[in-house]
Symmetry: C2
Amino acid sequence: MREIKVERLLINYKTLEDFKQFQAYGLQELSMLDDLKNNLVENDSESPFYGIYYGSTLVARMSLYERSAKFDDYFDPPQDYLVLWKLEVLPEYRGNNYARLLVDYAKSFNLPIKTNPFIDSHGFWDYMGFEKASYNMERDLGENPYIWMPKGVKQI
Amino acid sequence: MREIKVERLLINYKTLEDFKQFQAYGLQELSMLDDLKNNLVENDSESPFYGIYYGSTLVARMSLYERSAKFDDYFDPPQDYLVLWKLEVLPEYRGNNYARLLVDYAKSFNLPIKTNPFIDSHGFWDYMGFEKASYNMERDLGENPYIWMPKGVKQI
């Protein structure tokens, strides 16, 4: 049986080429590619992405970034928290719980998590124990903020 | 010939029902509906949305919110700017320049504009005179920030 595990993705030309298979490929990836080309980041340095390989194929990924308590507008008491984005599994690899593995990995840091899911993926986030944040237009604008909180943490 | 114009959308049950036709319907709209039901906002008060009606059908919309210079991380000199989101034309009404009319309307305020387009709509934003913001992960996370600047304004 093939071992399936979540790993930190390294910034190199292979990873950045792999990223092109994902629908949410955008300015973030283009900017990483520029930085690599211009030697502004080292080859094989750590990226903000975590992913799952099936053999040598990157089949799922997510991005995680730790925001400092200073910028926390979501949780009570204010604290360091993770922003999760670009969670995506390639279409032909769906149905294998890869998204669940990635989100469980994010939860293992035991920090609150905030994400902004596509509107049609809410069943998944509910299932993963996330809840809707109380919508605040000035803070959230066009986002659909969903949050997960370890024990002892509340929404603002 | 039918008159096509951009108008400020009013918060009432008809508007909120009309919104359900749009793909980006999310927590923002659900929260507006709750506020209306609980009399936290007045019926027919102004919403942050602008739209185009074809007869009595809402066929296109966008949301606009003015951020104060104090929160400006995009423009030089720092200044009040508009955040534009949920620009969308119902599928059967596309190809009539409605999206263009809405964005031109946003530009008519003569403030810089920031938006976070879907990755497959970049041709449209280029055509409308928007440019990619220099991607900054800490600021932009999973966004693809595109900006438009009136004369005399630069990117940070």
